[in-house]
């Protein structure tokens, strides 16, 4: 069973999303709590316990719901924001920053999407109608992996249908595309997939759909007319790097016609110091540990600059040679 227990905040006990989740998971015991923070992160729960005792929390997100994205987050020139609809992920990618971010691997789903959308509306009003305002989902959780369970996507579709100057990115590694196909494409909703060469995904992206399965899902969405984006992130160096990425770029551009690719972001594997510490502890035999990392300009642990730039520029060249307009390929979180 995916979850060991569901914790529900009493204030959202009767919320439609809460009821929907409970109905979908009838055999999982439910505990009602006053606040998510009474249990979640109250005591440190080891990350790898997500493998056999993952809890699900349902509650209301408080505080700022939509936040300004850091520099080098999306296509430059436009204002970028990200919104928080969930914490943590059902997948287990070895390099994932979530392992050092929260003190618990338990999944939290927030149900107050109406408030998130109201905040988005407010932000859109602060920008001129000529500006394209981006809202990114998936900062702290996969945007689609549990969308069939949480069921909030129709609310977002309704909102973005009415807000032509706003764009939303749903970022995923899942192949859970049925809810999207049911809703149909919208010009200002971009579905983006994170991809790695097959061998790297097999090695580092634990419990995720294979690269081939993701490419197949991308093709189905592209065929249905969805706007697409691609994250080639994190790029990991090994001796087969060039041939593996050449193959991946070729395959992804076969799956999604170039004209439907809104952007491709490129990023090289990187860790904050805390995440690197957690990662080394959680995966002491990971092949990633064999990389020669340095403490970089922003205190992140990553390859040295010539290696990073070589990786990024090589993949960038492959994308452009594949027909993607150079301005659609951007380097994520890399100062240049």
């Amino acid at each position: 069973m995916l979850f060991e227990r569901i914790f529900v905040e009493k204030q959202v006990q009767q919320h439609p999303q809460t009821l929907r989740v409970q109905e979908a998971l009838p055999k999982i015991p439910v505990t009602y709590i006053d606040k998510i923070s009474d249990v979640f992160e109250k005591a440190r729960k080891p990350y790898l316990q997500k493998r056999d005792s993952l809890n699900l929390f349902l509650g209301r997100k408080e505080g700022q719901l939509v936040k300004e994205a850091p520099d080098a987050y999306g296509l430059s020139g436009d204002p970028h924001y990200y919104f928080i609809h969930a914490y943590n992920c059902i997948y287990e990618c070895e390099y994932c920053y979530l392992q050092g971010y929260f003190h618990s691997p338990d999944l939290v789903m927030f149900v107050n999407h109406d408030e998130i959308l109201a905040e988005m509306k407010q932000i859109c009003r602060q920008h001129s109608p000529e500006e394209t305002v981006w809202f990114h989902a998936g900062e702290f959780s996969d945007s689609l992996a549990l969308a069939h369970l949480s069921g909030e996507l129709p609310e977002y579709w309704d909102f973005f249908r009415e807000m032509p100057n706003a764009r939303m990115e749903l970022r995923t590694k899942s192949v859970n595309i049925k809810p999207l196909l049911t809703l149909g494409p919208l010009e200002n909703i971009i579905i983006t997939f994170s991809l790695s060469p097959s061998a790297a995904a097999r090695q580092y992206d634990r419990k995720t759909p294979s690269t081939q399965a993701r490419l197949n899902a991308m093709k189905r969405l592209a065929d249905a007319g969805f706007q697409m984006g691609i994250h080639l992130d994190p790029i990991v160096y090994d001796e087969r790097f060039e041939s593996d990425y050449q193959q991946l770029v070729t395959e992804m551009l076969q799956a999604v016609p170039v004209e439907q690719v809104n952007y491709i972001s490129l990023g090289v594997v990187r860790f904050t110091r805390d995440v690197f510490h957690e990662f080394s502890k959680n995966y002491p035999k990971s092949g990633l540990l064999a990389g020669e990392f340095v403490k970089s300009f922003d205190n992140k642990v990553r390859y040295n600059r010539p290696q990073r730039l070589y990786l990024l520029k090589t993949v960038q060249r492959m994308c452009v040679e594949g027909g993607v307009a150079p301005e659609k390929v951007y380097l994520c979180m890399e100062a240049e």
Binding site: R44, K45, A290, E292, V294, N304, L309
Partner: protein, 354 residues
């Protein structure tokens, strides 16, 4: 008082009460050991400590014992009885504990510890007070299904001393079940027998700590300082993962015989060996360094020192030259003309296909 450790490392078994330990004391032929306080026993196969009940007792006594006996303690095993928090708790079942939580006056503490048993799947909360009422148990239930009084202190202390920690608890009762201490005491011998049988089974199946790397892996003719050894250990670990071969095979791939031919000083040889291993681990950086050496060769041959920024994080190249004779200046001028900074930039900016 003799607290000098016996040379053979052995497990240290930790109990709160003598009743829980009684069968171990008998069957393992443990004899009282002179120490700063009562409750420490030893035999050729194990140490045993009785701490008394509660977090503070366990913490104080185990700290004192580990401070004295650390080198001869192979692992710490906390055994004893514990309470179940769920009404469906399987009483008299013995559980291997995974994560240890702590609660002080019903307030959860943030810090937790995980035992060395990778197969364990149950968590425990060590409470500062006895959990006798259902309401108190309800507050703890979101975090774990078992409650005791000492495990967290044992886990915390062993973490401090970097000793592997295991924890096995027999579930004796539930809150509000009407069980009183006297009932538990009456069962003590039986519980101790069950724990002993369980322990014997587990003990025989617990692998001993991995052999740690020593200077012994270095071929004859090499000497490593402590920091070199540490670096060697890290490199070997990563290369074993990367190449899927043994440490000895990794060393062989670094061609130590050739290093001995090139260098006469033992410590310098180790530096070269470490460099070979580093290059083996990251061929990209080896090629990068080689390429930059080639490109700066004209400057080096003119006697200049060439330095790049740390980890090549920017395009800066620092060239230091000393001129004592007009010929030096001429040489430097020629070297600067021959020095191709554009080519260096291409390498630093990832545009050179290394």
């Amino acid at each position: 008082m003799n607290t000098m450790p016996n040379t053979t490392a052995r497990p240290l078994l930790v109990f709160a009460h003598r009743g829980e330990a009684q069968v171990f004391l008998k069957k393992l032929h443990l004899k009282s050991m002179p120490f700063h306080f009562d409750g420490l026993y030893q035999s050729n196969d194990a140490y045993l400590l009785i701490t008394g009940e509660g977090l503070q007792n366990a913490s104080e006594r185990l700290s004192a014992v580990l401070a004295a006996l650390r080198e001869s303690v192979q692992r710490v095993v906390n055994l004893g009885i514990a309470g179940g928090l769920d009404s469906d708790t399987d009483l008299e079942k013995i559980c291997s504990i995974r994560t240890v939580y702590r609660s002080d006056n019903a307030e959860m503490q943030f810090k937790t510890f995980t035992t060395s048993d990778a197969a364990a799947s149950l968590d425990i909360i060590s409470a500062s007070q006895r959990i006798l009422r259902r309401e108190s148990a309800e507050k703890l239930k979101p975090f774990a299904s078992i409650v005791d009084r000492e495990a967290w202190a044992c886990a915390s202390t062993t973490d401090l001393f970097k000793v592997p920690f295991y924890c096995y608890k027999l579930l004796s009762d539930l809150p509000e079940e009407g069980t009183v201490c006297l009932d538990i005491r009456a069962q003590a011998e039986r519980y101790s027998t069950l724990l002993f049988e369980f322990y014997q089974n587990v003990h025989l199946n617990t692998p001993h700590a991995e052999a740690s790397l020593s200077n012994g892996l270095l071929p004859a003719g090499f000497y490593a300082s402590t920091s070199q050894l540490r670096q060697l250990k890290t490199l070997l670990k990563h290369l074993c993962i990367k190449l899927q071969i043994s440490e000895a095979e990794v060393i062989r791939r670094a061609n130590p015989e050739k290093i001995i031919e090139r260098e006469s000083k033992e410590k310098q040889r180790t530096s070269l060996l470490l460099q070979e291993l580093t290059d083996l681990l990251n061929p990209f950086n080896a090629r990068l360094r080689e390429r930059l050496d080639d490109l700066t060769a004209p400057l080096a041959s003119a006697g200049c020192r060439v330095k790049f920024s740390r980890d090549y994080e920017d395009d800066e190249v620092t060239i230091t030259a000393r001129i004592r004779h007009p010929q030096h200046l001429k040489k430097l001028q020629n070297a600067l003309v021959a020095f191709d900074y554009d080519a260096v930039l291409k390498v630093l900016q990832g545009e050179d296909k290394l």
